[in-house]
């Protein structure tokens, strides 16, 4: 059973004069134990969506179910106990600035009425988990961004939540620190079995740790699926833009040569052992030139894309496409 079920969710904000639809027709199920990513450009409604999972925002229509419980039907006190099972971390860390690291981590325990010695013990355990034991007595202002986020993660885990919501948790961090935090989230997911929901605008975050992804655009879910499948063959235009745009623009702008026919090939991890391109040339008897290539390791498998220029001959082009289809390589003609 899905741990989180979002059904026909709609959120409308009332600005002075007009109504702004932040989200509509959102249906998402997050499975227990997975790392689920929600990506979208800014203004797509992803922060609103994550806040409805723990009811910090109330949906205008639709339901949010946590372990089968409809959050909209709970009393305030019941909702507060559900929130103790859903940890949350934020872009700006949101630590208490006037208390030290260990007291920050003890805060959720303190408000849950856990005895002080037990809380200290639990906080020390968590400090060890996030590798910050030596910073116990420091104040947040003395910590780096990555360290602050580690404290926030420890704090969010204090009450042993089943789910960890991450709202742009790495957006304020540099790439190296981002990787460390993502590795930590992965470790928490694998070792503690905590279901993780990640909100981000960075494709690289989704790529490196998520199992499944939902792509938001214009207040709606444009596409949802397994990360590898979505990366291999994004169906929605926003998906293509985010995935191919991200990988291409990051290295260099790919500009299709005037009047040439170019094909983009996408590889998922399953076929990188096969010499696809070499076999294609042998089989069709025609040469192609590689204009762009990019590959990366995802969960130990090579995933990448290639842009090749093919001869103008329509018959040859058909032949190449046939070959690609036969070998189950996803491809598109570059526009």
């Amino acid at each position: 059973m899905a741990i989180i079920e979002i059904k026909n969710l709609k959120k409308v904000f009332n600005n002075q004069a007009n109504e702004v639809v932040a989200l509509q027709d959102v249906n998402i199920e997050v499975e227990k134990g997975e790392i689920f990513g929600i990506i979208g450009l800014s203004g797509a409604g992803k922060s609103t969506l994550v806040r409805m999972i723990n009811y910090l925002e109330t949906p205008t229509e639709g339901e949010v179910l946590f372990e089968g419980k409809n959050l909209g039907e709970l009393k305030d006190s019941e909702l507060r106990s559900v929130r103790k099972e859903i940890g949350m971390i934020f872009q700006n860390f949101n630590l208490l600035e006037q208390v030290n690291v260990i007291k920050n981590i003890m805060f959720p325990l303190e408000i849950s009425g856990v005895a002080k010695d037990k809380a200290v013990e639990r906080a020390r355990e968590l400090l060890k988990l996030v590798d910050l034991s030596e910073k116990e007595r420091e104040f947040p202002s003395k910590l780096s961004g990555g360290q602050k986020q580690r404290v926030a993660i420890a704090r969010a885990l204090a009450t042993n939540p089943k789910v960890l919501l991450c709202d742009e948790a790495t957006s304020a961090l540099d790439p190296k620190t981002t990787k460390q935090i993502l590795d930590l989230l992965k470790k928490i997911n694998k070792e503690l079995g905590v279901t993780v929901v990640i909100i981000t605008h960075q494709m690289s975050v989704i790529e490196s740790i998520c199992d499944r992804v939902a792509i938001l655009e214009n207040s709606k879910v444009a596409e949802i699926g397994n990360v590898k499948a979505v990366f291999k063959a994004p169906k929605s235009s926003i998906g293509k833009k985010l995935i191919f745009g991200a990988t291409i623009n990051k290295d260099q702008e790919f500009v299709k040569p005037e009047g040439k026919t170019c094909i983009r090939l996408a590889f998922d991890g399953s076929m990188t052992d096969k010499p696809i391109l070499a076999n294609m040339i042998l089989e069709t008897g025609r040469t192609v030139s590689i204009l762009y290539a990019n590959s990366k390791l995802i969960e130990g498998k090579v995933v990448g894309q290639l842009i090749i220029e093919v001869p103008d001959d329509k018959e040859v082009q058909e032949h190449i496409k046939e070959y690609l289809e036969k070998n189950e390589v996803a491809y598109w003609e570059v526009e």
């Binding site: 723990n54 910090l56 507060r80 106990s81 559900v82 929130r83 103790k84 859903i86 940890g87 949350m88 934020f90 700006n92 949101n94 630590l95 208490l96 600035e97 006037q98 208390v99 030290n100 805060f107 959720p108 303190e110 408000i111 849950s112 104040f139 947040p140 202002s141 926030a152 704090r155 969010a156 009450t159 919501l165």
Partner: protein
């Protein structure tokens, strides 16, 4: 003649000034903090927005803050009499000081609480904190340095008001300044009391700012 009056006149007056200032500050804070918290929580983006309660409280606070202290001092004489049994002396100045200072402090507290990052409050909510826990363990704790700076301003303002109470026989340094300095044209006494008031304000201000600086863990 520099010491035209007995030295004990000054020491008694200083003691009375401290008594009036500190007692009324304490009572005013006991009223002002809950009032300020209520203003904060019922405001539009507060924890439990309630336009009705906010507007009424806000109006009351504004009314009391706009009455000049000297007028208020006289207006509340019956209340003073009922509470402390007399309308003369240092004790009699405390009720008007409290009535005047509490709304002022409520606004100071409200503005200090508004400085607390909304993200931190959201984080506390996400952990399942109750509104009461958010007020006591997040809002008041996170705004402590700002509250202390507010206290430095409030207490020195109350001290200034307490000196005004001399006009109605309220005791303290203001009383000495008016009775000996003004009514008897004794410029030396006037000067000395003013200098003493300046020194006391300076000391109180420095003490509170020092505590505020020391307590702020962001620095």
């Amino acid at each position: 003649m520099f010491l035209a009056v007995d030295l004990s006149l000054y020491t008694n007056a200083i003691a009375e000034t401290f008594f009036m200032t500190l007692t009324s500050s304490l009572i005013s804070y006991l009223i002002g903090i809950p009032l300020g918290v209520l203003l904060y929580t019922t405001a539009k983006d507060g924890l439990t927005p309630n336009a009705g309660v906010y507007n009424i409280l806000s109006l009351i606070v504004n009314i009391f803050r706009s009455i000049p202290f000297l007028i208020l001092l006289i207006l509340v004489l019956p209340i003073t009499k009922a509470i402390v049994g007399t309308t003369i002396g240092a004790k009699a100045v405390i009720p008007p000081l409290v009535i005047s200072a509490s709304p002022y402090i409520a606004r100071m507290v409200e503005s200090s609480l508004k400085e607390v990052d909304l993200g931190v409050i959201e984080a506390a909510k996400s952990m399942g904190a109750t509104n009461f826990q958010i007020i006591t363990k997040v809002l008041l704790s996170e705004s402590k340095p700002s509250l202390l700076i507010g206290a430095a301003i409030s207490i020195t303002t109350i001290l200034g008001y307490s000196a005004m109470a001399g006009a109605v026989g309220g005791g303290g340094l203001g009383d000495v300044a008016i009775r000996y300095g003004y009514y008897r044209y004794n410029q030396d006494v006037m000067l000395i009391t003013v200098v003493l008031l300046v020194i006391i304000v300076q000391i109180l201000q420095e003490i509170f700012m020092g505590i505020a600086r020391k307590s702020d863990k962001r620095l």
